[in-house]
């Protein structure tokens, strides 16, 4: 009991967050392995806390977080769902739609002497966002190509 009391609450919170994050995997994978993954994470966290407290935990959580992010993409690509590419496309659509609505608003009267830079700044911002989204899509497709077409085990 005393040992349990010495474990900070943060560990349980992070374990719960990881448990929630593994629900982002595709349904088949999630049903099969999510509970085991959460259990492994909790056990590894408890052991790392016993080994070297926060220093060990920082290394472990960094590794686990990276693993989670990478394998989420891989699993969704393997699932045959185009969700990974649809997410940035949805963001781009929402961005363009929002920009169009903002541009359609009636002009606001500016105080005398202040230059009208809002429109140009907005267009620049939208262009940058679109470029980032396009770059994300292209890079995601490019770098995951070997995973999608990989034939070896």
């Amino acid at each position: 009991m005393e040992q349990e009391a010495a474990v900070p609450r943060t560990l349980y919170v992070v374990a719960a967050l990881y448990g929630a994050a593994v629900r982002l995997y595709p349904p088949d994978f999630r049903r099969e392995f999510a509970s085991e993954m959460s259990r492994d994470f909790s056990q590894a966290t408890q052991e790392a806390w016993g080994d070297g407290a926060w220093r060990s935990l920082a290394g472990l959580w960094t590794h686990m977080g990276t693993d989670l992010a990478c394998t989420l993409i891989v699993q969704w690509l393997r699932s045959g769902w185009p969700a990974i590419t649809l997410i940035p496309v949805a963001f781009a659509t929402a961005g363009v739609s929002a920009a169009a609505r903002i541009l359609a608003l009636p002009p606001v009267a500016l105080p005398a002497g202040q230059p009208d830079r809002d429109e140009a700044a907005l267009l620049l911002l939208v262009t940058i966002v679109l470029l980032i989204v396009m770059a994300t899509i292209i890079l995601t497709l490019w770098f995951t190509r070997p995973l999608r077409y990989r034939t070896r085990i």
């Binding site: 593994v22 995997y25 994978f29 099969e32 392995f33 085991e36 993954m37 259990r39 492994d40 994470f41 056990q43 590894a44 590794h63 686990m64 990276t66 693993d67 989670l68 990478c70 394998t71 989420l72 891989v74 699993q75 034939t151 070896r152 085990i153």
Partner: protein, 110 residues
Amino acid sequence: MAALTPAVFHVLLALARGERHGYRIQKDVLEQTAGDVRLGPGTLYGTLQRLMAVDWVEETEGPATPEDERRRYYRLTRSGRRALKAEVERMDTLVRTARAHQVVPRTTNR
């Protein structure tokens, strides 16, 4: 046969020692690589999923110990063991070739 990925090789090697649950496999891989390879849960279970799909690994009942009773255990199938053996032989041939070309001395110990 194409070379196995490192994750697949290490999982097969860990399971060659007997049936294991996922966390034990992770610990065994860490131990057998002297801490060089740490498989995260996503990588491990993704690998196990693919290995079960090609029938190299199968799920077992596992031992009926109270603390591990809810764990899922995995073991090598015959074809999995054959694949591991073939990979080890392939790597052995490569190492012997490298030594013959004096890339590494014959007595090198890591």
